[in-house]
Assembly symmetry: C2
Homo-oligomer: 235 residues x 2
DNA sequence: TAGTGGTCTAGACCACCCT
DNA sequence: GGGTGGTCTAGACCACTAA
């Protein structure tokens, strides 16, 4: 169950960046230096750097090097990784509904495949805030089968994905998202502390995992008045 | 000015998919077959397939092959490529403002760097519809310096990016986006044929190009009532 | 000119899927 | 067992940047 080398390098470098040991504007060690440090080839180093670049953490310049990028005050949500990983500090998470066996929501915007609908499902709901400001309501549904005992777990670092990875070896491999601008219903408006009818962002997500056939379905409702949703993408 | 081999393979395969010569559910030729067909190594083939996968056109399964994915009825905008490339057919584009030298818009949500603000800029505005339904107002700003004669050009296939590529060798390398849900102002509402005050999606984009320092700034206003904005992302 | 990242070759071994 | 994709090695040449 060991992660591939390129992912270990990626995680190590990302850790350095997130802990602030390499600051925005600084350059990473050159690819050849990394090869020497980790005793691996450039192909593997470059695969790690490719992912850091695609998720917007570094910027590469031909002939110069790989520079750590500035963070922006937004919820870097649209790439695959979760909330806590992309946003900075100050994130507070409260459960509105603890993980429990439930029915699949009938009108999910991205429909689960038929096979999954026949199986029992686990649901939970959280409210995520930056400081004192609520910014997002998060709902998740996924088949109970692949994660026995999930309802009795405590989350690692408040991170759903980290918990899945450590306890079940399930990794997120990709996602598919749909986005709408809608009016906040009363209940939503109250939770997000906006006026009823205010425009809010609705995001429906299907996450793909390393477990073929095990998908996670999420629906997010976001107050973007102060924190827009952010996204970076590089070829 | 020749494109790298992996990009040629990528473009060729994408063309096959978009022209419908390989249908959703079908498998691409295996990596080894592609190596033989194009007389290149697997590293290069895989780089082409990586990009198709990241932009959500194919799905790879260990031990099986690379399958073309289903298209969805949404505006696949959030990845780097433009509108026409990701949405299907039926896209109609009308200029509200033809390309012309203008001032930079003062309150762009993603600010151009200081150096660019000192230079003259070209602006144009388009309304994009699917069939008879207007779905998006698109505004673009970029420095005039790098694209002499741009205001006299006609667009290739109604595609801004294709035009930049063919006439100036400028390729899109990445983008950075911010997304809000806002209320439509009167003028916007009229163009999008929604009620004033309806929720619409606002997307601000900075595109990075192969020309260092040449960035394109876009602001989009989208009616998501019928067509949500879509996005796919894979590690 | 020395060092950097961008592209590419020609192999290898493995895990996974199907028959 | 034969074919597939996933990972990795050990090189090479090139274009770009900076001193």
């Amino acid at each position: 169950m060991s992660l591939p080398r390129y992912r270990q390098i990626h995680d190590y470098l990302l850790g350095q960046i997130q802990k602030g040991e390499i600051l925005p504007g600084d350059y990473l060690p050159s690819e050849n230096e990394l090869c020497r440090s980790f005793s691996i080839t450039r192909t593997t180093v470059r695969k790690a750097l490719d992912e850091l670049q695609k998720s917007g953490f570094i910027e590469r310049q031909h002939g110069k090097g790989s520079m750590v990028r500035e963070r922006r005050a937004s919820l870097g949500l649209l790439n695959v990784k979760g909330f806590s990983e992309a946003v900075g500090q100050d994130v507070v998470t409260a459960f509105l509904q603890y993980p429990a066996e439930k029915e699949w929501k009938k009108d999910l915007s991205i429909s689960p495949d038929g096979a999954q609908l026949l199986m029992p499902c686990i649901h939970f709901e959280r409210l995520r805030s930056v400081g004192a400001e609520p910014v997002m309501i998060e709902n998740n549904w996924f088949p109970a089968k692949a994660v026995p005992g999930f309802t009795d777990l405590t989350f690692i670092d408040e991170s759903f994905f980290k918990t899945l990875s450590r306890h079940y070896g399930i990794e997120i491999k990709g996602s598919e998202q749909l986005i709408w601008s809608i009016e906040a219903e009363n209940k939503v408006a109250a939770l997000l502390k906006v006026l009823a009818g205010s425009p809010v962002l609705k995001i429906a997500i299907r996450f793909y995992t390393s477990h073929p056939g095990f998908h996670i379905y999420s629906e997010l409702l976001c107050n973007t008045q102060k924190y827009p949703i952010g996204n970076r993408y590089f070829l």
